[in-house]
């Protein structure tokens, strides 16, 4: 458990450093994720301690964004004023995203099957 956490923190640290000095447009943790992914691909397996920590995080990822999401109370007047446009935008966006992604997938997969 501890060794998994240490690995993740080290990759996060490296990601933060690279983000700060070389690639300020990409968040440090995302760079850490990419580094760890490359590391896993090169090594070819995930050790038990790392998967324990990662599973714990992904099972309850939601709890970590509660503190920031509660900040929505500060935006209530603004959201109330634009409630309909926000709801419409989210609804249209989610429906069209699901539709387009699945249709593109069906089309390209079929084409690929014909080629091969």
């Amino acid at each position: 458990m501890i060794s998994g956490l240490v690995q993740i923190l080290l990759w996060q640290g490296l990601g933060e450093l690279v983000s700060h000095f070389l690639l300020p447009i990409i968040p440090g943790p995302v760079l850490g994720l990419i580094f760890l992914l490359i590391f896993l691909l090169v090594r070819g397996h995930v050790n038990a301690s790392l998967s324990l920590v990662s599973d714990a995080f992904s099972q309850h990822l939601g709890v970590l964004f509660i503190p920031a999401a509660v900040g929505v109370v500060l935006f209530l007047p603004q959201l109330r004023a634009h409630a309909w446009s926000v709801i419409a935008a989210l609804l249209v966006s989610v429906v069209s995203t699901i539709a387009v992604t699945s249709l593109v997938l069906r089309f390209t997969a079929k084409k690929g099957a014909h080629d091969s």
Binding site: L37, S51, S58, L61, P67, V94, T101
Partner: protein, 241 residues
């Protein structure tokens, strides 16, 4: 004030000044949300985070605590977001073996889906006259919340609005996904799952896993890839749109 009242006031001053109150509040609210979610057989509207946010907000209102004071305590939970983001590499790595044979269709579909999610949300909101702060927060909203908030910070838009929009997007996707996919006559589980993960990140993924394991695997792959590509491409897209 009576001596008793004074004592309670003293205890309250002590508690509300330490991070403990915010931490207990956050985790208890999540625990309640989690129980509701399990009891309702993982119904998307009973999303544990949405319930927890509502409970914490009501609680802060009742005890009259400003959000900033709450966040000072809860920032210890917030800090772990970055660490959790890095640990997403593990599920992506596990799903990547299923990517190899279908790399091109999956990447093309993901890019199309990602662009549509942004253009449609920003387009509709602009058309209906939403303000700039809200529109800005729409850009990363289809990406998994921890990464979306990182992107929001870099874009200079509110991570809070982004997180809230991401959660609502996930809930809507999980509720409507099956119906939309049925209407379109989608039959392959891997295609259905991938579309859910692209549009509705973690919440859509957990829905996909509940429907079919193959759909779930592809949904979590879509969520991970969308996170990485989103972090790389959304800042570029926003600058040029």
């Amino acid at each position: 004030m009576t001596p008793d009242g004074l004592k309670i006031a003293e205890i309250w001053v002590y508690l509300s000044g330490s991070p403990l109150f915010a931490l207990i509040l956050t985790l208890t609210a999540y625990q309640i949300g989690h129980v509701c979610y399990q009891r309702t057989d993982k119904y998307p509207l009973a999303n544990p985070v949405a319930i927890a946010v509502l409970l914490v907000a009501i609680c802060l209102y009742v005890v009259d605590m400003p959000y900033q004071t709450y966040f000072e305590g809860a920032q210890f939970v917030h800090f772990l977001l970055g660490t959790a983001t890095v640990s997403l590499a593990v599920p992506i790595y596990r799903g990547i073996s299923s990517l190899r044979s279908r790399l091109i269709p999956l990447l093309v579909a993901l890019l199309c889906g990602g662009v549509v999610s942004i253009v449609s949300a920003v387009g509709v909101a602009t058309l209906l006259g939403a303000d700039a702060a809200i529109i800005g927060a729409f850009y990363p909203k289809s990406v998994t919340a921890p990464i979306a908030m990182g992107i929001a910070e870099r874009l200079g838009v509110s991570p809070t609005l982004t997180a809230v929009f991401a959660i609502v997007t996930g809930i809507l996707g999980a509720m409507l996904g099956s119906t939309i996919l049925n209407l379109l006559g989608m039959k392959q589980w891997w295609q259905r799952g991938f579309a859910m993960g692209t549009a509705a990140h973690g919440i859509g993924t957990s829905r996909a896993f509940a429907v079919h394991p193959e759909a779930g695997t592809y949904a979590s792959l879509a969520m991970g890839l969308h996170g990485i590509l989103g972090a790389l491409l959304i800042p570029l897209l926003k600058n040029y749109l």
